[in-house]
Symmetry: C2
Subunit: 134 residues, 2 copies
């Protein structure tokens, strides 16, 4: 049995976050010693690592909860898990697209900017420009 600091080190989840996950119900309340310290065993650490890994893949906490529930459900259909993962792929793809677009626009502007000591700057011109109605 480890206390929260060791569990944090073993799982890669900060002690702060472990408490938060417990508070929000993502994970069940940890056991406690007589003096109130939380205790964790290998199973709990594995759960924490699961959460960590899912977060690393960009799943929001709500989806992590869904994944955890499926993980615990031995009668799950893998199709459900796959759907969650596919949804997440779509979310990521969308975000990537948006950022690619921002990046392309910015690169275009950067390319057009002399970048010297003169004040003329197509980047500022673009930001301030567009069309203004009085």
């Amino acid at each position: 049995m480890m206390n929260i600091g060791e569990a944090a080190a073993a799982s890669g989840v900060s002690a702060k976050m472990i408490r938060y996950y417990e508070e929000t119900g993502l994970i069940p309340p940890a056991g406690r010693t007589g003096s109130g310290y939380r205790t964790y065993g290998p199973k709990e650490v594995q759960v924490l690592r699961f959460v960590r890994r899912a977060r690393d893949l960009g799943f929001p906490m709500e989806k992590v909860a869904d994944l955890l529930a499926l993980w615990r459900d031995r009668g799950r259909a893998s199709a459900e898990v796959k759907r969650l993962a596919e949804d997440q792929v779509a979310v990521l793809a969308q975000r990537i697209r948006e950022m690619e677009e921002m990046k392309a626009t910015l690169e275009h502007l950067v390319h057009a900017c002399a970048g010297d000591e003169r004040p003329d700057c197509p980047i500022l011109a673009d930001l301030g420009g567009g069309h203004c109605r009085t």
Copy 2:
């Protein structure tokens, strides 16, 4: 002179955000009518549109403030603007890289998952697995 609702419509920045930008000092306090309504002219709307556009390119508010300062400074060197833009391109590129990596990992897992009614699922196996000590 327009009130905040019209300025919001004209700039694409919500009234809520206009007040917030003013409160945080990103933009100077708007003029007021005798009864306390904020008033905006074409110049203010242009500033708001500048902010909107910069935010659309992913600049955090702090950088938007820097850009605004340069915009107002007629003696600026375009090199400074360019540097801000290049930094932002780098930030975007980094984020894109991270998300591409997540996406690639997930796609790999999705590909390996049968997605049927059976419980066996490489996605969950990966999340829970790695190396677990029981």
